[in-house]
Amino acid sequence: MQAYTEKIREAAKRLLAEKKVDVVIGFRKGTMPLMNEPFQARTPEQADLLVWDGNCGINLANYLPKRTEKIAIVAKGCDSRNISIQILENQIKREQLYILGAPCKGMTDKRKIQDELEGKEIFQAEEAGGQVKVSGRDFEKTFNRSEYLQENCAVCLHRNPVISDEMLGEPVQEQQVECYEDIKQIEAMTPEEKRKHFDALIEPCIRCYACRSACPACYCPTCFVDESKPQWVGKTTDPTDTRTFHFLRAFHVAGRCSDCGSCERACPVGIKVRQFTKKLEKEVKELYGYEAGMVQDLRPPLDVYRPDDPEPFL
C-alpha cells in the first residue's frame, strides 16, 4: 500500500497546481510509531508530506461535512461509503470532491501488536510488504500485518472504494469472511448474559464521546447528549446513562455506519463499541438488503420504506 504514497503526492501536486482543488486531504507521517496524522495539503510543497501505509485508519470523510471549498480526498472503501452517505445527506456536494480511491488491505491494529510485546514500548515501526517490523529498547519483532488488522478490517467486505475520480491502484480482491461471528455469539446469549456482557463492555467508559467525535456519520447540529430541554441522558458515568449513550449513539448511525472502525480506534479506554453498531448493520442488511453507502442514490434505510417491509416487532 505504500506505493500509494507516490501516487497521492503526484495527484495532489497536479490537482493543486492546476487549481482543480483547494486542498488535498490525506495523512502525514505521525510522530508516534504506527500512527499517522490526518493532514490537509494546501500547496504543492505540502503535498510532499502526504503518506500512505497501514496506519491510516481514521476515516477521512469525517473532515468533510459542511466544507465549502473544492477538496481532493484519499478514500478507502469505508471512507468512500461514508462520503456517499454524506453526499446523500447534503453534508458535502459531489462536485466539490475529487476522490482518490485507495483500494485497501486493512489497517494495522496498534493495540493488538502492543499486546504481543509484554508491555515493552515500540520506538519505531516499519512497514514493508505484508509485514510490520517494530523495534524498541532491546527488542525487534516482525508481524504479518494480515494477522494484526483492526477487527473491522479483518471482516471488511468492501475494501475497494465505491466512488472515485481516480484510483491509486488496482482493485484488491474482496475477502470472503464471516463478518458477524461475534454478533451471533452475543445473539445466542440469554437476556441476562447479554446485559452482563454489554455492562462489562462499557464499564471503562469515561464518557469522553471520542467514539462519536471520530464518527464520519455523526454530524447532527446538536447531538442528543448535548440537548438540555429535555435532557435525554445524564452526563456522569452512571451505568444507566452510559448504557443510554452507547445505545443511542449506535442507533443514530443505524444503516449509515460503514463499519470503518474509527470509533473503536479513537476510544481511549479500548471499548469495542462496534459490537453495538455491527448488529444494526446486520439487521439492516437482513431486513432491507441495504449496506451503507454502497449505492450512490440509495438513501439510508431509516429515510425510506417499502410498503411490504417486514414487521418482526409485532
Binding site: 447479554k194 435525554w232 444507566t240 445505545f247 443511542l248 444494526l280 410498503p307 414487521e311
Partner: protein
C-alpha cells in the same frame, strides 16, 4: 411484591389507536388501568429517545400503537416508524437493556376497540410476567 402493578407508558397515534382507546372507553370495554397514554400526532413522530426516556424514568413497559400501514393519516408516517421499531426492538433486546416482552408495538385502527382492549390486556400480562423493570432505570448517580 403481590401488590405491584406495572406502569406501561403507551404512545398512541392520534388518528387510529387513540381513537380505538376512546371507542373502547365509550363502549365500556374493560382493559387494565396500568397503561398511561401519551397521544402522538402519528407514530412517525415516535422517537426512540421517547421509549428510552420512559424506561429510564421507571416505566415497566412501553407500548406503541398506530394506524395500520397504508392507513396513515399522513400517508406514510407509520411506514417510516415501522423501520425504526424493527431496529429498535431488536437492538434493545440484543444489548440486554430490556428483556423481550417489555416493549410492544401494534397497529390498531380507530374502529378496533375490542382489539385495543385485548392488546392492552396482553401487553400488561406480558409485562406483569416479567416483574418490575430493574436494569435500565436511572437512579441517583453513583458518584463520589
Amino acid at each position: 411484591m403481590s401488590e405491584w402493578e406495572p406502569k406501561v407508558i403507551t404512545f398512541l397515534c392520534n388518528w387510529c389507536s387513540y381513537g380505538a382507546a376512546d371507542l373502547a372507553g365509550v363502549s365500556r370495554f374493560q382493559y387494565p388501568a396500568n397503561i398511561r397514554i401519551i397521544r402522538l400526532p402519528c407514530t412517525g413522530r415516535m422517537n426512540p429517545k421517547f421509549i428510552l426516556a420512559a424506561l429510564r424514568h421507571g416505566a415497566d413497559g412501553v407500548w406503541v400503537s398506530g394506524c395500520h400501514p397504508g392507513d396513515c393519516h399522513y400517508i406514510e408516517g407509520n411506514f417510516y416508524a415501522r423501520r425504526k421499531f424493527a431496529l429498535l426492538k431488536t437492538q434493545l433486546e440484543y444489548t440486554g437493556l430490556i428483556e423481550p416482552g417489555r416493549v410492544h408495538f401494534s397497529w390498531i385502527s380507530s374502529a378496533e376497540a375490542t382489539i385495543f382492549a385485548d392488546k392492552a390486556r396482553k401487553v400488561v400480562e406480558a409485562i406483569k410476567a416479567l416483574g418490575p423493570a430493574q436494569h435500565f432505570i436511572k437512579k441517583q448517580a453513583e458518584v463520589a
